[in-house]
Symmetry: C2
Subunit: 532 residues, 2 copies
């Protein structure tokens, strides 16, 4: 049905040629109240995606729809969720959608129902979390767990951490408190673990070790760091590894060891940066906030996945992807900013940075040939209104144009607000958000060039009622699907990451005392790693 | 002596034309052990700046030196620190260097010694912090302060917050604990204050309200938020504003009010993003870690400032600035990543993002004329090794080249480390850092294009023995001075921020019920700010 290796390069698409021939519209001239209402589409999970302030017309949207048809986005997505090998370089299926619901027919391999396996693991996570919350599973000295510390890096850290920060306020509002306090250790820098474990209570702490391969340098050394610290307390009866659960693949060295309290499994079809809805995110989030909250997150993600199967005109992720490619390849904008007007999403941009840049920061197509066009942009961002007092100066008046992805919610999460000068802080927050969209799009003439705002700076807005687990799941999945669609458009493999290998090899050479390029040896000496 | 309004545009420089005529060198061919030792210069404060892996030759460095001469960087810096009005748009002096030591002759205005005023405020901050630490100043119910919460946004938040995170481990190692726990509230989003103040103890908390103008919307509303929360506790004798000190200008509404516990002053010659070494950073850092640690930070910053007065070949900040401009304007790279291999610097990139993008994200020169060349790049970053498992894929194998600014230290900060497989985690951290510099510069051939690393990706390294307050101060000042020099090279005003105004005006219009552009009204309606 679909052979990713036979797919067409982006620059061979007729629709791309047609788009290049069209004049870029001026957003400030297009933007009307009617357009704000019309260029607005359901994104699933209670979210809507508004693209009225992006540089497209009805006509260019038709060409973008053609482009998606030419690159067979709908068919490729279907092939992906039905279990075709879409991660061609690594010869793997790509099944993170199956973690949160079935989009197509069931996926099985050698008679094994993979969806049932994922469901079984999610159920085991929920049962484990309930046992911890109800005191049936405790620390090795019999005390209930109060803190959960995730040890993982990259996809085992950024997504779960961003979600934990995003859910905390919701959990507090709903239950009065988090069930366990969540902490995260990722960096091999010993200062990271030392900071997170400063003054911790070994008896009431449970660690979640997350490494699909079970061989990640950072995660294994931080595990030993935690064990050493626990042993230093010399608490009678304390067994450090009975305070640790693993999330790993069934074939990893961490799996099936009776040393640990428990283990939960994922497989090779769940990529690290797409794993937040697997036990990689599920264990820590279920322990911290309750499995029912994690289940709502999964539902929201599934709703957004379903929305991504709709025809172009109703498909928020596909429209977002296609306009992003237009901005990148036709208009030539090299970066994208993610700007959530919700402080709870403070680390969501860091997750999207990995998701997008690691997926689409590629220079070869799925046949392994270098491509002749720009692929994934640099992605960065901070919450508003903080960013307004920081880097927005460049966004408004810099020499480069940066397309913006705003996120906003009508209500705040913690239900604590005050009214000052006739409006609440939440109202002020959203007034700022609306004002920024307007300012970027419309600009403002001024005879003093230093006070002139050129405008015509594109933005979109994803918005909803409030940042619930369901909305958060949908937000996560929207961007996963957007990134996937962009990979299909560019004909690149969004699911491997060969670019991380060389650094690992050279690190090993340095630590192993092997012969090095002389310059590399000099750098190692500067940093105190090799003798002079 | 210097008239910034008469300065030459960057593209009129002869050296720039000469640089454009030269072929860009391939770093992989240039990089030798000797070059690593030679292209390495003292940056002040115990730091060194290594630029061996940046795309310059002895010849192009000469042209860059010519460029700095042509644009009179040394003279402009001297004029700046001696009090000429270098912030031309706002008609202000630029005096943050004077906060940490005198570089030239004294600066006075209408007979007033400005350096003495700054010193007086720094001394007052130190005395205040000592009184708090010694229990002579307490909360209004007589209890000692244990937590300090800074309320400020932008420059009143990002720099102080990044420094507080960076100093915590040092303070713990030196004193066994922080003196007060530091927290920060910035966003107008009510969820920010609600999160930071969740379960706080009003009796032992001191707030630092930071707003130069005394009119910042976010800071004033968060002040009221804190007061309301404190009042809700109904603690007998508790006077909320006697738990608040202000950092503001002498003419602001916050100054000289006897409502507050105390006030410390800055003036218009300290820009927000350059204010971390003023009481804006000084109060919270001195309370949290002790005034002696803040004083060491100032010394380190002053050492880097002094290093920035040296001739080009010995001037780390000037070399860094000039090569950055070469990468931006000749090689055409639109972004820069800041990659500290020190987890304590986790929010330092967010500070540099403001510092750089707000200073140099400008499209007009100092005469107010639009310029025809790119100015400040997009700046982003996360600590290594975290970034290696995230966005480094794009850095290694993406279609765009991103120049990198690595930061590293030989020793960890908290003196807690373990040895695993024959090396400590700190050694592993630095082996990773050296390996990355090598991988980016040298690349690696592979017949499988997906595993091919093109290399020739530029990076520099700022490194030192350990992240002390002195090193941190020098690091801060190095980047301030680099950004300043780049502004001089581009002939732009790095000290104003007119680009933040339009958003403020439109926000006020929305909140004030004024007539709006119909599209803006629609956005306000979507977000629940205006009635449908």
């Amino acid at each position: 049905m679909i052979d990713p290796r036979a797919a067409r390069n982006f620059d061979q698409c007729e629709a791309y040629s047609n788009l290049r021939k069209m004049n870029a519209p001026r957003i400030s001239q297009l933007l009307t109240a009617e357009r704000v209402h019309v260029f607005d589409v359901d994104a699933g999970g209670g979210l809507r995606f508004n693209y009225a302030a992006r540089p497209v017309t009805a006509e260019s949207l038709e060409r973008l729809s053609d482009l998606c048809t030419e690159q067979r986005l709908a068919e490729q997505f279907k092939a992906l969720y039905e279990g075709y090998v879409m991660n061609v370089g690594e010869e793997r299926k790509v099944l993170h959608h199956l973690l949160r619901g079935r989009l197509g027919s069931s996926v099985s391999e050698e008679g094994r129902d993979i969806g049932a396996f994922y469901r079984e693991q999610t159920d085991r996570v929920a049962a484990f979390a309930r046992s911890v919350h109800e005191g049936r599973i405790t620390g090795s000295t019999g005390k209930p767990f109060r803190t959960v510390v995730q040890i993982g890096i990259g996809g085992s850290d950024l997504g779960p951490r961003a979600l934990a920060l995003a859910l905390e306020g919701h959990a507090v509002t709903r239950h009065g408190h988090s069930r366990l306090q969540a902490r995260f250790i990722s960096n091999v820098d010993p200062d990271d673990a030392a900071t997170q474990l400063y003054g911790f209570d070994p008896e009431t702490t449970v660690f979640v070790l997350v490494s699909k391969s079970g061989t990640t340098q950072e995660t294994l050394t931080n595990e030993k760091f935690a064990v050493e610290l626990m042993e230093r307390y010399e608490i009678a009866g304390l067994v450090p590894r009975k305070h640790m659960v693993c999330v790993t693949s069934e074939s990893s060295p961490l799996a099936h060891s009776s040393d640990y309290l428990d283990a939960f499994f994922i497989d090779d079809y769940i990529g690290g940066r797409y794993s937040a809805t697997s036990p990689v995110g599920g264990v820590v989030l279920s322990l911290a906030f309750g499995p029912e909250i994690f289940e709502e997150l999964l539902s929201g993600a599934h709703e957004a996945d379903s929305a991504a199967t709709r025809p172009f005109a109703e498909n928020a992720a596909m429209i977002d992807a296609a306009i992003g490619v237009y901005e990148r390849n036709v208009l030539g904008y090299p970066t994208t900013a993610v700007l959530p007007y919700s402080n709870a999403l403070q680390r969501f941009p860091a997750h999207l940075q990995q998701l997008d840049m690691e997926s689409n920061g590629k220079r070869v197509n799925r046949r392994g040939e270098p491509v002749a066009y720009p692929t994934g942009p640099v992605v960065f961002g901070e919450p508003g209104t903080n960013g307004q007092h920081s880097f927005y100066q460049l966004l408004h008046q810099g020499t480069d144009v940066v397309p913006l992805q705003f996120i906003g919610f009508r209500e705040c999460q913690r239900e604590e607000d005050i009214e000052v000068d006739g409006s609440t802080n939440q109202t002020k927050l959203n007034a700022n958000l609306a004002a920024q969209i307007g300012a970027f799009a419309l600009g403002q003439e001024n005879s003093d060039a230093n006070r002139h705002f050129p405008g015509n700076r594109p933005s979109s807005l994803i918005y909803g009622e409030s940042l619930t687990p369901r909305a958060l799941g949908a937000l996560l999945a929207h961007f996963e699907n957007k990134v996937m669609f962009q990979g299909f458009l560019w004909n690149i493999n969004s699911f491997d990451q060969e670019g991380v290998q060389l650094g690992k090899v050279l690190t090993k050479s340095i630590l192993g005392g092997e012969e090095l390029h002389p310059a590399l040896r000099s750098y190692a000496q500067l940093l105190g790693v090799r003798e002079e």
